[in-house]
């Protein structure tokens, strides 16, 4: 235990067994929404009684990239943008593992965008959670592929003029079988969505809109993280089954939340097994993990 770690309270926090408490307090700023998403994820694991030893968390780089380091699970902190392909390899080598990518918008939709779309296309059976705070935070608040038009960042000092990604639309159009979006305030619905995503066979995707007070709120004069939460309260609209085309997020405009996609489709391994079974007949043993695993 670190010397500066706070003394243990008499009764343990219920998440204690799921977190590396020897690393808490974490590095995230006050009012950052990532910690809230972690709590929801931990709750989802517990509520759904998912065997924790079989869960692996893979993260990339950035603020959300640090999630892997705080979860008391098999956890991998990889390089910028590459959490998804790492997770793909891990899952394919040992499909009995439940592999979850927990990363930020810069990591998943920016540098890692190519991996994201192809893994959704292949319907690889992993869960991807994207904490979207609308910019690159760890590096100091630069414009991202998700920054709303006109939002101010350190590399869009006169306002962002690029069109951002609509992540649920991107995931859905590439083939994801489960797509949902919630804000850090929709804590119970987010938990439920994580549970559904974890239990979904195929590529499941949950976007979490989260406050970044240090960079996004400050640069755009939006007040504190709490003010952003209040904004979500007043401006988010739950619309299950909404057309993903309608889910763009404008600067300080309405945020449509809900579950947008929940379909069944053969996964990468289902399709591979079917193809090889057809071509090779009885000579083919159904692949359930590489022979050495």
């Amino acid at each position: 235990m670190r010397a500066d770690a706070p003394a243990k309270p008499a009764i343990e926090h219920p998440m204690e067994s799921l977190l590396r408490m020897d690393r808490i307090p974490h590095i995230w700023c006050p009012t950052c929404g990532i910690g809230t998403a972690v709590t929801a994820f931990a709750s989802a694991l517990e509520e759904n009684e998912i065997p924790l030893d079989s869960v692996s968390v893979v993260s990339g780089i950035g603020c959300t990239g640090r999630v892997a380091g705080y979860m008391k699970l098999d956890s991998y902190h990889t390089t910028h943008g590459r959490a998804v392909p790492f997770a793909v390899g891990l899952h394919l080598a040992k499909p009995s593992l439940k592999v979850v990518v927990f990363s930020g918008d810069g990591d998943l939709a920016g540098i890692g965008g190519n991996h994201f779309i192809h893994t959704a296309r292949r319907n690889v059976d992993i869960t991807v959670i994207c904490v979207n705070n609308f910019l690159y935070a760890m590096t100091g608040g630069q414009v991202a592929a998700t920054t709303p038009v006109s939002a101010n960042t350190s590399t869009s000092p006169y306002g962002n003029f690029e069109q951002p990604f609509n992540l649920p639309l991107l995931a859905q159009s590439c083939g994801a079988v489960y797509v949902a979006r919630w804000t850090a305030l929709h804590i119970r619905r987010m938990t439920k969505a994580f549970g559904e995503a974890l239990n979904k066979k195929g590529f499941s995707f949950v976007e979490v809109i989260a406050p970044c007070s240090t960079l996004y709120a400050r640069r755009n004069r939006l007040g504190t993280g709490l003010d952003l939460m209040k904004f979500y309260h007043d401006n988010s609209e739950i619309r299950h089954g909404a057309d993903p085309n309608d889910l763009n997020i404008g600067f300080q405009e309405k945020i449509i939340c809900g579950k947008f996609v929940d379909i069944e489709k053969p996964t990468f391994l289902d399709s591979m097994n079917e193809c090889y079974g057809k071509s090779l007949g009885e000579k083919y043993e159904i692949y359930e993990g590489a022979a050495h695993a």
Binding site: R20, R23, L52, D53, S54, S56, V58, A68, G69, K72, L73, D74, S75, Y76, H77, T78, T79, G81, R82, P85, F86, A87, V88, G89, L90, H91, L92, A93, K94, S96, L97, N114, H115, I117, H118, F268, M272, Y276, L280, K283, Y284, E285, Y287, A290, A291, H292, A293
Partner: protein, 385 residues
């Protein structure tokens, strides 16, 4: 441990170097291949995917080389021997995550079938221009292990050896071959599984409560956790402590990076592998590796006919470089001739080790073909003066 007979295609085959590498990988127990097509390496992937469904293996064609390298790392952490292959531009793209593999201490094999560069260069023609990139291509301080086969048979043999070294030292190992060997077809004899020694993963025997992912004994090589078995370990590309937790300070950096370097350096005698011929009493030594080792033979014959006392050293493992041996040789010969299909890369190591005690003569070829033996012969004559 003996090889799993399932992957071993025992018998005499007439196959090219690329197919031989795929067969070597399967014989070594590799069951995961994440690849991206690139000339002249693609046949390795093609052979692997033909064979994988018959041996319980899996091939996935990833979206790019960064994806390939990471899928291979992920699969290796999943407990499976894994590989990828690439060439030139793809090797550049893999370099960042080759570094992640080194940092996480992930066994796997990365094959580079070298072609002419820089940039797109000569996709269908040979080169040896990535030798220094192999050594220093990722950022930061580290040591690498790289092997260079000179024939399809050695492509097979060294791929097994590469997997064994990667497991023994828990790190990605490079196979630095070239288009010439890759596309050269020769007889390859694959022994029975009984005749193939493979190293298993160094899985920990400790229970989760006592396990630390980066705790090491005198071997300096940590033991691997078994994924999904309650070890609940954390590994990170950030500088980390024995627990795998990030520690961002100079002290932790020193401890970790020195160990990563030392586990190769201090075991160099075990890793280094070279072949010598006629060294005793030689005035001139030709140092070569890969396809160039075969190309020098007519030149060596010419030199012998001229009465030049000529010896040869062929690097089979190119990194780590056999520093000690080259220092010794430099003290006893007039010159070392280094033909390379690049404009001077491994020769820099020879010069460094020779430190002016003998002449070091580079015979450079920019790529796209192999040397004319005559040019090598001329360099040998000059060295013998």
């Amino acid at each position: 441990m003996k090889a799993d007979p399932k992957g071993v295609l025992t018998g005499a085959h007439y196959i090219d170097g690329n197919y031989a590498i795929a067969e070597g990988a399967l014989a070594a127990g590799c069951r995961f291949f994440g690849g991206y097509p690139i000339t002249p390496s693609t046949e390795i992937a093609e052979r692997f995917v033909q064979r994988a469904p018959h041996v319980g293996g899996l091939f996935i064609q990833m979206e790019d080389e960064m994806g390939s390298m990471n899928a291979v790392l992920g699969a290796s952490w999943g407990g499976v021997k894994s590989m990828t292959c690439t060439s030139g531009p793809g090797f550049s793209l893999m370099m960042e995550n080759f570094g992640l593999g080194l940092m996480l201490e992930t066994p796997c094999v990365l094959v580079n079938v070298q072609r002419g560069g820089p940039s797109t260069g000569l996709p269908t023609l040979p080169g040896q221009g990535d030798m220094m990139q192999a050594r220093w291509g990722s950022h930061g301080d580290y040591e690498v292990i790289a092997l260079a086969p000179d024939s399809p048979q050695e492509g097979f043999d060294l791929t097994i050896h590469a997997f064994n070294l990667s497991e023994r030292y828990r790190m990605p190992v490079l196979m630095m071959t070239d288009e010439c060997v890759g596309h050269m077809t020769e007889k390859v004899v694959i022994p029975s599984a009984e005749g193939i020694e493979v190293e298993p993963r160094r899985f920990t025997k400790k229970p989760p409560s006592e396990f630390l992912p980066y705790e090491v004994d005198e071997s300096l090589v940590p033991y691997a956790p078994i994924p999904g078995e309650g070890y609940r370990f954390h590994v990170s590309g950030l500088t980390h402590d024995e627990q795998g937790y990030p520690v961002i300070n100079a002290e932790a950096q020193d401890k970790l990076v020195r160990r990563l370097v030392d586990k190769v350096k201090k075991n160099a005698a075990d890793i280094c592998k070279y072949e010598e011929k006629d060294i005793d009493g030689a005035d001139v030594v030709v140092l070569s590796y890969g396809i160039t080792s075969r190309v020098v033979q007519p030149a060596v014959e010419m030199a012998k006919k001229k009465g030049i006392k000529i010896g040869q050293i062929r690097l089979i493992v190119v990194w780590p470089f056999p520093e000690e041996r080259i220092r010794e040789l430099a003290g006893s010969v007039k010159g070392i001739v280094v033909p390379e299909i690049n404009l001077g890369q491994m020769v820099l190591e020879v010069e460094r080790c020779a430190a002016g005690r003998c002449a070091t003569i580079l015979v450079a070829h920019a790529g796209g073909g192999v040397h004319d033996p005559e040019t090598i012969f001329q360099a040998i004559k000059e060295a013998a003066k």
